[in-house]
């Protein structure tokens, strides 16, 4: 039976993991490949690197990080942040990433999804959707540029279009919940997961193991992503998986 995945996300800027980390016993606590290898050992099912600098000069640093990680962590690696073209995606894959997540650039030009999927296969194309709940209705609007810019697009409609164009997975982030430790937006997740055939990765709002359970059970997510609760050692991957297993969800042994 297919396991539900637990995915630590590493926000990277200037070659370092940003957002506080508490890997105090590591010599170089902010080194992304070091952290990645550690999470792999601790039972992470996949890893996501998010390049939050996304500045042109940060690109070669990022590729170097991806390459060093691929040498040590033999689990799937997704890279997101600032990929705007087939050529840029190719460079990231060539460095050793398995998938690329497209966000702002895909909203600006949805044909990017089609072109990347045609060239590298749908399995390599994750479309990241940042969604904000609309005030009056049970609907969500797609926002871009780290949640700063509304687009007027409906998140569910955009999810359907992204899949139609060749997305192999959707990474769905609730901008309302992101960083708040108030739990995943399971209604948003359910609204999307119930409408698309591809796996949905939940993101934004994790506070504890029970939120991972809810994202899967109530939100229908296939995978659950979190950053700070892992980096700050608030919860271990093994604890999250134990809670999921106790709730009757199928997980890989950590």
């Amino acid at each position: 039976m297919l396991r539900r995945r637990v995915i630590p996300c590493l926000d990277v800027a200037g070659g370092r993991v940003v957002k506080g980390t508490r890997f105090v016993d590591l010599v170089d606590s902010g080194d992304p490949p070091e952290l990645a290898a550690r999470y792999a050992d601790e039972g992470a099912d996949e890893l996501v690197f998010l390049d939050i600098s996304a500045a042109p000069e940060g690109r070669s640093t990022l590729l170097d990080i991806v390459e060093r990680t691929a040498r040590r962590a033999f689990i799937p690696l997704t890279v997101g942040g600032g990929v705007r073209s087939v050529i840029e995606m190719r460079a990231v894959l060539r460095a050793g990433a398995d998938k690329v997540s497209l966000n702002t650039a895909a909203v600006a030009d949805p044909s990017l999804i089609t072109r990347c999927a045609r060239r590298f296969g749908s399995q390599a194309v994750v479309v990241a959707i940042d969604a904000r709940r609309r005030a009056d209705t049970a609907s969500w609007e797609v926002v871009v540029r780290g949640g700063r810019e509304p687009t007027g697009r409906d998140a569910v409609t955009w999810a359907l279009e992204a899949v139609e164009r060749g997305a192999g997975e959707l990474l769905v982030t609730s901008i309302d919940r992101d960083g708040t430790r108030s739990g995943y937006d399971t209604e948003l997740l359910r609204a999307i997961s119930s409408r698309v055939p591809v796996p949905v990765i939940a993101s934004g709002g994790a506070a504890g193991p029970e939120d991972f359970v809810a994202a899967v059970r109530d939100g229908g997510a296939d995978a659950v992503l979190a950053a700070s609760i892992f980096h700050q050692r608030l919860h271990a991957i093994a604890d999250v998986k134990a809670a999921m297993q106790a709730a009757g969800l199928s997980v890989r042994a950590a």
């Binding site: 396991r3 995945r5 691929a70 990433a97």
Partner: protein, 215 residues
């Protein structure tokens, strides 16, 4: 096994992430390189065809590189071979994915997964062995391995002897085949953590033994 790293040719037809397979092979003590032309298979002791993406374009690229016959000859000579993911599906006669004619080594067709709760089938899943095989030495019976695919090879009765393992996603599908030195896996051993590295290490060891026997 001797201390000399086993030379392994990884067929490069322009698709997929070859870095991870190379890194994983190096990690288990092999010496991998990318083969883009037939001449680059010459010194190899084992051959790996990896790959993700569509069967039709993969076959077109293999044909353009003049690699189709060398791969067939390699397998016909019973030399150590491992097909990974699409590399396994290509072993069958054809694929429903863009109607491609494939290598025709194992009787059967690659078909889209039916009754799958999610598609593509992405993630860790159990690989249930039908029989014991040294490719899985050191793995527990319920070991999870990493899958990323929408199509699967469906062997006919004439190839049922080759079925080594099955996996469930909606329905059971064939997730590993073995016929003498011909091996194929639908999962990605290079992305399946310690258990995946064990599978690759087992393949390298089996290949070394086969070469020593042939020498």
């Amino acid at each position: 096994m001797s201390g000399t790293p086993l030379p392994v040719a990884v067929v490069d037809y322009g698709a997929g992430n070859l870095v991870s397979i190379e890194q994983a092979l190096t990690h288990v003590g092999a010496q991998p390189w990318r083969a883009r032309r037939a001449a680059e298979l010459a010194n190899a002791a084992a051959l790996i065809v990896p790959g993700v993406g569509a069967a039709g374009s993969a076959m077109a690229r293999l044909r353009r590189s003049g690699l189709v016959d060398p791969i067939r000859d390699w397998i016909a000579a019973d030399r150590p071979f491992l097909g990974i993911c699409l590399g396994l599906q290509l072993l069958f006669d054809s694929s429903d994915e863009d109607g491609a004619r494939t290598l025709g080594i194992l009787p059967g067709v690659s078909r889209r997964l039916v009754d799958a709760p999610t598609l593509p089938h992405i993630g860790w899943n159990q690989v249930r062995r039908r029989r014991s095989h040294p490719l899985f030495d050191g793995l527990s019976d319920d070991a999870d391995l990493y899958f990323v695919h929408s199509y699967v090879g469906a062997p006919t009765a004439a190839a049922s002897d080759a079925i080594l393992a099955e996996t469930e996603h909606g329905r059971l599908f064939v997730s590993a085949v073995a016929r003498s030195n011909l091996l194929g896996v639908q999962f990605h051993p290079e992305r399946s953590g310690a258990d995946g590295l064990r599978v690759l290490s087992n393949f390298v060891r089996l290949a070394a033994t086969a070469n020593a026997r042939a020498a």
